[in-house]
């Protein structure tokens, strides 16, 4: 069975794009995704600012595997599978901390931060041929980082991370270059979940079309706080296929941004400081790029499951599938290191973040509601088989069109078919479909 054509219909002749809903419900599809996608593609783990000092560690579940993401005693960032090589017990049982040694609570085998087995209690009971060197902690096949963002790949043959990120690097840089001294993850994470297939969260995170409806109360809030002065902003951006399954919506800032678009939400006191931030960006990066960084929303998908949305603030959102109808989310705030703890600048950023984003925000809960309602709708999948993602196929895709979502699905279907990434869409996808259908028997 082919995913392309049979389950993801990409009809460029007629400007139609449909996704079969079994892709969101089938346990078989879910298992194949684990084997095909999550075992072979680069998956985001964490940012190195989360583990600043030697011995710092955090625990993550990535692609279903338990990982320790840590900085070893010598300062090198590493990952180990969080399972004792002796009998399998979870080695690190805290979510975060600092250590020189990981001691298993089961039989007290202990490993240093490089993963080397250093203690086996009752060592004399093992035969002389027992080789401790075979029992060091196991590292994933590949780790890689780009500007502090660390990824894992469970496939030793995978393409290197920079090649994989490809054209997305331009957009990652537009985020990372907003800081003069690098970006950091702010402490405190949004850990929540959705009773819906993970791919619906991918769609939703890069979907401009839903904003006026799902987020009507947010738009009202922005208006009430004197913002949203650029009425057409959300509709005037564009969706872009970046290749390798990555995609982005780029649109003029529709409301306040800590870097660097002032609206009354931030208060009159902050106006000068935010304008100075813009001026410094322009100094560092030139007029055009500086303004683009400061004044533009970016909703970026790194295929398959990392979202970096640079909107009212910057969120890094990791989508971890847990079942066909459920996924977990980990989301963090990314901030320039120079926005110090306790500073007005960081406070503004976090306040702005929380207006929209997160499980207690004024917008994200309604996204969760939308996704869960879709998943419940899929219970009628035998009778109502298809979801439609055709918006903007016959035009230059705007930010409220669905090109960036189709990009995900095209890559998904092609990868699931074992065919690698499809050719990047550059231009109008279905130009012929811009003409009205020719009715039978009518000569034009």
């Amino acid at each position: 069975m082919g995913y392309r054509d049979e389950l993801v219909v990409d009809d460029r002749q007629n400007g139609l794009f449909r996704v079969n809903r079994t892709l969101m419900t089938s346990p078989d599809v879910y298992r194949l995704e684990q084997a095909t996608l999550f075992d072979h593609y680069w998956l985001y783990v964490g940012h190195d600012s989360e583990i600043p000092r030697p011995g710092d560690f955090v625990r993550r579940t990535v692609g279903g595997r338990p990982l320790i993401f840590l900085r070893d005693s010598a300062g090198t960032v590493r990952m180990h599978f969080n399972t004792c090589t002796h009998r399998g017990a979870t080695l690190c049982r805290e979510d975060a901390g600092n250590t020189r040694l990981f001691q298993c609570f089961y039989h007290a085998w202990s490993f240093d931060t490089t993963g080397k087995l250093v203690v086996t209690p009752g060592a004399e009971a093992y035969s002389p041929r027992f080789d401790r060197g075979l029992y060091n902690l196991v590292a994933p096949a590949r780790c890689g980082s780009y500007r502090g963002l660390w990824f894992v790949n469970y496939d030793a043959e995978a393409v290197d991370l920079p090649s994989y990120l490809g054209n997305a690097i331009e957009y990652l840089d537009l985020v990372m270059d907003q800081a003069a001294d690098g970006m950091r993850i702010v402490k405190g994470a949004h850990l929540y979940s959705v009773n819906a297939n993970w791919k619906l969260m991918v769609e939703n995170s890069i979907d401009g079309y839903h904003a006026p409806t799902v987020h009507a109360t947010y738009v009202d809030f922005v208006k009430d706080s004197g913002g949203g002065q650029r009425k057409a902003a959300l509709a005037s951006g564009r969706g872009i296929d970046l290749g390798n399954g990555h995609s982005v919506i780029e649109s003029p800032a529709a409301w306040a941004r800590p870097i660097a678009y002032w609206e009354p939400f931030f208060g009159e006191d902050a106006r000068d400081e935010i304008e100075q931030k813009l001026a410094r960006l322009i100094d560092r990066h030139g007029e055009q790029r500086g303004r683009r960084m400061a004044d533009t929303f970016r909703n970026l998908l790194i295929f398959p499951n990392l979202i970096i949305n640079d909107v009212a603030a910057i969120t890094v959102r990791r989508i971890e599938p847990t079942a066909p109808g459920h996924h977990s989310l980990q989301a963090w705030a990314l901030a320039p290191a120079e926005e110090l703890e306790g500073s007005a600048a960081l406070q503004r950023r976090l306040d702005s973040f929380l207006t929209f984003l997160g499980p207690g925000g004024f917008a994200s809960p309604d996204d969760v509601e939308a996704l869960e309602s879709c998943q419940r709708g899929f219970a009628a999948v035998r009778e109502v088989q298809w979801s439609d993602i055709s918006r903007g196929m016959a035009t230059t895709a705007g930010s409220q069109d669905e090109l960036q979502i189709r990009t995900f699905w095209r890559a998904y279907a092609s990868v699931m078919d074992g065919a690698g990434f499809p050719q990047r869409v550059d231009g109008i996808e279905a130009p012929e479909a811009a003409q009205a259908p020719v009715e039978a028997g009518v000569t034009r």
Binding site: V186, G188, H190, L191, T217, P359, G360
Partner: protein
Amino acid sequence: MTVAPAADRLARHALRLDVEEFLYAEAALLDAWRLDDWFALFTADARYEVPSTDLPSGEPATALMLISDTHAMIAARVKRLNSRKAHREFPWSRTRRIIGNVRILAESGEEAEATANFAVYRSRRDVSVYMGQYRYRLVRDGDTFKIRFRRAELDLETLDSHGTLSIIL
């Protein structure tokens, strides 16, 4: 351990009873979704906070919170939840709050600092329980109080079994 004079003990008990009564009345407003009445309980400089589950000690100036509302943001939250377009809470979920272990930590002038344990049951399709501890700073207002500071620290590692935090805790 010295025993406080009876009059002091009585005054302390009376304060705790007043605080308990206030918290029960507040919980009843929230369970009844009388959000405008609830909002009227706050002082103009009030704050409402819920720290992230992985950092219950988190402060809004240094950490990403789940909720960090000024008075204006509380007003916006109430307005939103009163709307039919707050989709996660339309129709409203049903909630029931159990509050206990009310303790007065400090009292100075017009202000009392109190903690209380809570379990907030929310039902909408599924039932979930948000449990944790409240921290309040309450200001005397005639024979009742106004809320100057209200913080709900969750005893949850994640919101994995809750999805979101769309109600007011």
